[in-house]
Subunit: 123 residues, 2 copies
DNA sequence: TGATATATATCGACAGTCGTACTATGGTCA
DNA sequence: TGACCATAGTACGACTGTCGATATATATCA
C-alpha cells in the first residue's frame, strides 16, 4: 500500500467517490449514479475516471474491494470505504470548508470596499 | 477572452490566487506570501504554478494586470481581481462548502452505523 | 430488430501543477 | 570583500488525475 502525503488536494471526482462510499458498500456504476444524485446532477463521474480512481484509492488503502457479484447476468465489482478512507474524506471536507470560509470573508470585505469606493466616486 | 465553462472544478492553487487578490492589488511574489499566510502555511504556491495561473486567469478575464513597477531595483508585476473573478471565487467557495457539508453528513451517518454495528458485534 | 440501460475495461490526449534551474538586485554578516 | 539569503520573475520538462472515446456484453422494452 502506497502511503500518500496528506496536505495534498483531492480532486472533485475522487472526493465524490469517497463520499459515495461513505454511504455504504457500492459497485462502480452504483457510485456513478449515487454521486450524480448526491451532487444534484452537477458531478457526472466518467467511467474512465471512476475505475482509475478506484484502483488508485485501493492502492492507497482508502477503499477496499469487497467481492464481485453477478446480478442479472452482469458482473458487479463492489467496494467499501476503509477507516483511513473515511478519515481522509473528513480531513478533505474540513480543508474545503476552511478554504471556502476564508475566501468568503475576503469577498465580504472586498464587497464593502467596492461599495465604499463607488460611493466616493459618485460623490 | 476565453469563456470557460462554469461547473468545472477549480484547483487549490488557482483558488488561492483569486482569494489572495480578493484582498486587493498584489504582485506575483506578494501573492505567494499572502496565500501562505492565508492558509496558515498549508498552501505554498510554486512560482511556475503561479505565473501560469495568472496568465490563464487573465485570458479568462478573472484577473487583470494593473501595471509593472520597479521597487528597489526589482520588477514587480501587479494584478487585480475583476468582478467576474470575484464572482467565480464566490461560486467556487459555495460549491466547496456544499460538497463538504454533504460529505460530513454522510460521515456522521456512517459513524453512527459503525458504532451500532460494533455494539451489536460485541453483544 | 434496434434502441436504451446496466456494467466494466482500456487508452490516448489534455490541463494544471510540480520540480528544478536560471537570471538579477539588494541587504546582511563574517 | 565574498558568501549567503530574500526578493522577483522566467522557462520548461515531468507527472498526475481527468476527459473523451471506443469496445464488450447482457437484459429490457418498443
Amino acid at each position: 500500500m502506497v502511503i500518500r502525503m496528506s496536505n495534498q488536494e483531492m480532486r472533485e471526482p475522487t472526493f465524490f467517490v469517497l463520499a459515495s462510499l461513505a454511504d455504504g458498500r457500492k459497485h462502480g456504476y452504483g457510485i456513478i449514479k449515487d454521486a450524480s444524485e448526491l451532487s444534484e446532477g452537477r458531478v457526472a463521474l466518467k467511467v474512465g475516471t471512476l475505475y482509475a480512481a478506484l484502483e488508485r484509492l485501493q492502492a492507497e488503502g482508502l477503499v477496499i474491494a469487497t467481492g464481485d457479484e453477478v446480478v442479472g447476468g452482469r458482473l458487479r465489482r463492489y467496494f467499501e470505504l476503509t477507516e483511513p478512507g473515511a478519515a481522509s474524506l473528513a480531513e478533505e471536507s474540513e480543508r474545503q470548508e476552511l478554504n471556502a470560509k476564508r475566501a468568503r470573508d475576503r469577498l465580504k470585505q472586498r464587497a464593502s470596499r467596492v461599495a465604499a469606493s463607488t460611493k466616493t466616486a459618485s460623490a
